[in-house]
Subunit: 408 residues, 2 copies
Amino acid sequence: MAKYALSPLAPEAFPKLPVIKGARFATHAAGVRYKGREDVMMVALDAGTTIAGTFTRSATRSAPVLDCQAKLGSAPEGEAVILVNAGNSNAFTGKAGVASVQAITGAVAEIMEVSPNRVFTSSTGVIGEPLPHGRIIDALDALKGKLDENGIENAANAIMTTDTFPKGSVASFEINGKTVNIAGIAKGSGMIAPDMATMLVYIFTDAQIAQDDLQALVSSFTDTTFNCITVDSDTSTSDTLLMAATGASGVEVSHDTKAFREGLHSVMLDLAHQVVKDGEGAHKFVTINVTGAKTNAEAKVHAMSIANSPLVKTAIAGEDPNWGRVVMAIGKSGAAADRDLLSIRFGDILVAEKGWVSPNYREEQGAAIMKNAEITISVDLGLAHGEATVWTCDLTHTYIEINADYRS
Amino acid sequence: MAKYALSPLAPEAFPKLPVIKGARFATHAAGVRYKGREDVMMVALDAGTTIAGTFTRSATRSAPVLDCQAKLGSAPEGEAVILVNAGNSNAFTGKAGVASVQAITGAVAEIMEVSPNRVFTSSTGVIGEPLPHGRIIDALDALKGKLDENGIENAANAIMTTDTFPKGSVASFEINGKTVNIAGIAKGSGMIAPDMATMLVYIFTDAQIAQDDLQALVSSFTDTTFNCITVDSDTSTSDTLLMAATGASGVEVSHDTKAFREGLHSVMLDLAHQVVKDGEGAHKFVTINVTGAKTNAEAKVHAMSIANSPLVKTAIAGEDPNWGRVVMAIGKSGAAADRDLLSIRFGDILVAEKGWVSPNYREEQGAAIMKNAEITISVDLGLAHGEATVWTCDLTHTYIEINADYRS
């Protein structure tokens, strides 16, 4: 299904995801844009399912994102449906885009016999072209007929655009002797590109949890997972994370339930990492740890400045232990730094300290670290106790190839 | 002298720069890092010359930058000297870097018989390696012996690193029947890279102007010229602009003198554009105009978000009129925008308006514009009257080649 070669950072296989009772999946080849592949997926969720979500903060966000945001937080009355298409993002499509969302959600509500307020849609693909929503509506009967609690892997495939592998993650754990499952899928490889990537994430659990508790958890964990990854510093107009808790396990949890918190965080972090590992042109997966900053927020500013620097990212692509570019990225970030206090490590190797290269550092040590597929760069600013970790990938010729291709 | 192929955006020839009375130039092959080329330049400035400057705001700025900043604004007593080396930036070199600056400025002061407070140095090149300042000091006698009022073009060549052409600009105009000249040189091609680029700019005039007036003009014009260009969003630890007014024309000017203001602004803008045109891997020179923003500052945030977006820059490299990526960059910038009010033009072609593609726009029109070597992208936000213009280049395979090369 993928147009580009499989990412060298791809996992060996799609994980075996558990059935989430109360959630059924269907996929269909609606021909929105792609030929010969499934490009629409539907999730039907049992009555009582609570739904939370987080979305792009872009000022130019898409019509489906605005529609989802307006519906979140309404009472979990009756069944709910998530409907997603690949191939067209319905973003920057003006009033026609709003009309497309209304047409689709109205048709879903009618065919699935749910309230329009319980229909959530996402679209990913080319920006600025009218969404041929008729093709999606024409597929609804077929989708309804195919709904299956085992369909989540197909759903992960149907939402791909420039992704080179489908992304899934699972956490299963016991609470009071009963098993609770969390299963998530995601797509995304550049932060955005017309005809290309947007990040979409759907997570399902059979735990029973109040909507406001679920929203609080999802918002909090988004800040330290999906909001801490960057492929190219560009932010989609369509990024969407939706989480549905069906309650079918009969296990009640809250935002304080440790096992649920840990399981959900682990699924979100795993999916976030998979998005980076499928970053357009990525050959290296890079963890940036910043400690010793004035605040956690300032640590993240530094970490993102390093993670988004084209010079740092091309150095990583070239397997060059170029710590001078890390110094540069810290200097330009705008957050506080004292040149003579900061230290830099590549992996476990102390590269620079006290404003200069470490006296024991030898270039071969750094060069050896840079040959790895997964690299950790750690910066300690020596100022206070603020810290942050972000994840990124290298910037390679393949990124240019993917994104400098003419669209048509 | 250039390691890389001449930029396709290079001017046909180095401009003929006028003699600036009171300023003499010398260059020498000191062997700081490069072999077989001149890599040090000296400017000797007559007594009474006023000097102004602007510098990188990086928190990790280099020792010579900090030294220059400390000296600016002191009284113009006696002669002054500017000394610049290429090959080593003396950045992130700890206490040894400070000692190198002191050794060089002390030696220059002694040999040239000037106050150390009137010696300004810059260094550009690899980060984090000790500056072999002895080689520079050894060259001072030779430099002193070569000083020549016609040496400015050689100086422009001696300060190049990854530059593919030397950069010069001139403005000559009459004030009260007397000719005033401004001549400037610059180097820079990436915002920074070890062993590579830093932006250095030196401008000379025979006008007579008070230091605070000169500083006010230089600071103000820097904001709308050099601070409005971006090659790769990365900011050097060494960026330096120094301006020297010898007064030798006998023409007194102030920050209000229209001809002087216009001439200086034109030289600064021309040099800034030349830096972009020599941007690492640049094949296209791109002007981004943003109007209708809430404030000028917000207009610049939007313009820089567009200019720095890897997806916008790769689209330009691919000659793809991909206005969806422009929408994305506006959306992510953090400054105010209303999707349904903004309009986008490529050249004179109205591409998008009122939140969607313009009804009369045809893709061929945009595609034709994108084939040009110089492209203007204009965005009107439709909110208020804030405006800004910035300049950038495309992001090509050559940028990756230059920057993913292993250093050694």
